[in-house]
Symmetry: C2
Subunit: 188 residues, 2 copies
């Protein structure tokens, strides 16, 4: 039987207490996701295989709803800001909510039909992600970007499609400002 | 078709922008929920029919997940702190998460089998409410208690059972401290 519990979420570090699991992704785990592979290899060679993001879960399979926190380090690969892999949900009827705790970023979304949208991520904004929109978080600021997500426990992550074809748009640094650009490698 | 959207949540006022609906409950709407009906009528007569709480929704029927904010005013009816009606979900497999933004309170929970639990509500704590636990929020502090909730859009609110029989426990002010007491009117 499941019992109620108070889960402390530190909005500055992203720590979740208690948590049920966690994983992190380093630069080398994100080969194929940044649009400039040479810049990625050069960065790893020069600066080491840094962590790009970490995900901390509070998840019980016996509950319909799970939540957790994603912590994204600031940084760029070439001109492209640090990003998450991006995913659809396996269960296409499942949406999600991202509540930004600290930092500044952009949520890049793509509908199944190929429409692109972005939502600014900033403290106090809860981003509504409708069902069947792929979503990728991008840290466009100088600090860690920390957000708490809420979704169906069994929504499932489908990373393959975005990994294979990319998203239609990129978010790049142009003279210190984040701008949306076409992805030259898009293979859809 | 649903589109992504950034929903601003003001952690100090509870305002949700944009929102899709809202309702509020005044003292007179909560007749039958406080354990001391005389204290309630006397309070309404002397101080007026004040608002006890307001709920602001961000809800789209086409999405599986809804969220919103509950704003609870501080106050007492006799020795009993301001409370929400308390509910089970109609769909018993649905849990919920309450992320406290500001203020201080207590979430009083009761399993279908009659077990009682409480979770402290304070800023940064995300309370995990497992499926099939009735839950009632109680503002035990001097400020507004504001929390953002996340649950399945079609979870449904079942208020009747708690309204009819009450909860097994009350949260009362005893010499300036909130304590859990047996509900003398419990009719289960």
């Amino acid at each position: 039987m499941l019992f109620p519990e108070g889960v402390a979420i530190d909005g500055k570090t992203g720590e979740v207490t208690p948590s049920t699991s966690r994983y992190s992704k380093k630069l080398s785990d994100l080969r194929g996701f940044f649009h400039d592979p040479k810049a990625l290899e050069s960065k790893i060679a020069q600066e080491g295989d840094a962590t790009v993001y970490e995900v901390i879960d509070y998840r019980h399979e016996e509950s319909d709803l799970a939540f957790g926190t994603t912590i994204m380090w600031p940084g760029k690969v070439g001109e492209e800001y640090y990003l998450t892999r991006g995913h659809f949900h396996v269960r296409r009827e499942c949406g999600e909510a991202y509540y930004t705790q600290s930092g500044a970023g952009l949520l890049l979304l793509e509908s199944r039909e190929g429409e692109t949208r972005t939502v600014d991520m900033k403290p106090g904004v809860c981003t509504f992600i409708p069902p069947d929109w792929a979503h990728r978080s991008i840290n466009t600021g100088p600090e860690k970007l920390i957000f708490t997500w809420f979704c169906a426990t069994d929504a499932g992550h489908e990373y393959g499609e975005i990994q294979k074809r990319g998203m239609r748009k990129l978010v790049i640094d142009q003279d210190g400002k984040s701008v949306l650009a076409d992805n030259p490698n898009y293979a859809g």
